[in-house]
């Protein structure tokens, strides 16, 4: 149990540290890389909670895919430093206001924090002796939560169509093999047999 506590504080501390470094890093690419490190530590916290599937999906989807997306976005943004310096004074006030708002909210929440006496009995994770975490999710996700599952499918479809519509340009000629055209091509259209007289040329 000591190791459990140590690992929790290690992952939680590294999560907070890398979140902070994400905010203060100068280069946007460094921010994205610290964000990736934060996601990895979040996956570690999920493992400590006993939800292995979520931890692994966190690594695959967030670290493997979403973070790559962030890197692409960062690389596509043109750093216009001159423009940024002029407008940054104005922009600086909004995050400060939001920070004060959420910070005071956190103070109120943490000030009045107390555990409900029955909190430890409300643990919804199934006992690992009987059933593994992935099996427990699989048993209810596709039957009990079938509607939500199909809605997730529609959301993914919407994301796919939206991404294509937003990035697609007018179709130019594409480099694509047309197998039927190649097979149906006649010999006389492509090859011309010339009888060349000697010393005269074509």
């Amino acid at each position: 149990m000591v190791i459990f506590g140590m690992m929790f504080y290690l992952f939680a501390g590294l999560t907070l540290l890398s979140a902070f470094l994400t905010l203060i890093a100068r280069a946007p690419v460094h921010s994205a890389l610290w964000l990736i490190f934060m996601f990895l530590n979040g996956a570690g916290l999920f493992v400590l909670l006993g939800s292995e599937l979520l931890a692994m999906i966190f690594v695959i989807v967030y670290v493997g895919a979403v973070a790559v997306l962030f890197l692409f976005v960062v690389m596509m943004i043109k750093p216009q430093r001159e423009v940024l310096k002029k407008e940054i004074k104005w922009y600086k006030r909004i995050p400060v206001l939001i920070g004060i708002f959420f910070g005071s909210e956190m103070v109120f929440i943490l000030g009045g924090w107390s555990f409900v006496p029955v909190a430890s009995t409300l643990d919804q994770l199934p006992s690992r002796v009987q059933i593994s975490n992935t099996t427990a999710i699989g048993n209810i996700l596709y039957t009990h939560y079938a509607v939500l599952f199909e809605i997730a499918g529609f959301i993914l479809l919407g994301a796919m169509v939206g991404a294509i519509v937003l990035t697609k340009r007018a179709p130019k000629e594409r480099y694509r093999q047309k197998m039927s055209d190649q097979v149906l091509e006649k010999k006389k259209n492509r090859i011309k047999i010339c009888h060349v007289d000697i010393r005269k040329g074509v």
Binding site: L53, V66, V129, L141, E150, L156, K168, K172
Partner: protein
């Protein structure tokens, strides 16, 4: 809970050892190697790019499109794993619900195929 963490403990040991070995090798190279940096040596080299240029506008938006489409099918495959494990439990209904899910995403796949989003113009 305890058994789960015991199973993952070897992973912690593995990460510790690999962290130690990698940092030890970097540290050793840093301390012991002869260091003679000069501007030519420190120039970043990247194949296919001009290193003396602003790199921010060279990326085509279609890389981004490929990444988004990858994420979507990544999530689709991630949904398949628990389904495959508990297929015996959830019966025909679970099977059909997954097939409907795959059908919805296949519609998107056909759309993207026909739109030519996978082609490089």
């Amino acid at each position: 809970m305890q058994t789960l963490l015991r199973e993952y403990f070897c992973l912690v040991v593995f990460f510790g050892i690999s962290l130690f070995i990698s940092s030890f090798m970097v540290l050793l190279a840093f301390l012991r190697a002869k260091q003679n940096p000069y501007p030519e040596k420190l120039t970043p080299y990247e194949c296919g790019f001009d290193p003396f240029d602003d790199m921010s506008h060279k990326f085509d938006v279609r890389f981004y499109l490929v990444a988004i489409l990858f994420i979507i099918f990544d999530i689709e495959v991630a949904f398949l794993f628990p389904w495959a494990i508990s297929l015996g439990e959830i019966g025909v209904f679970g099977f059909v619900s997954m097939m409907v899910f795959l059908g919805i995403l296949t519609v998107g796949f056909l759309y993207e195929w026909k739109k030519g989003a996978l082609d490089w113009e």
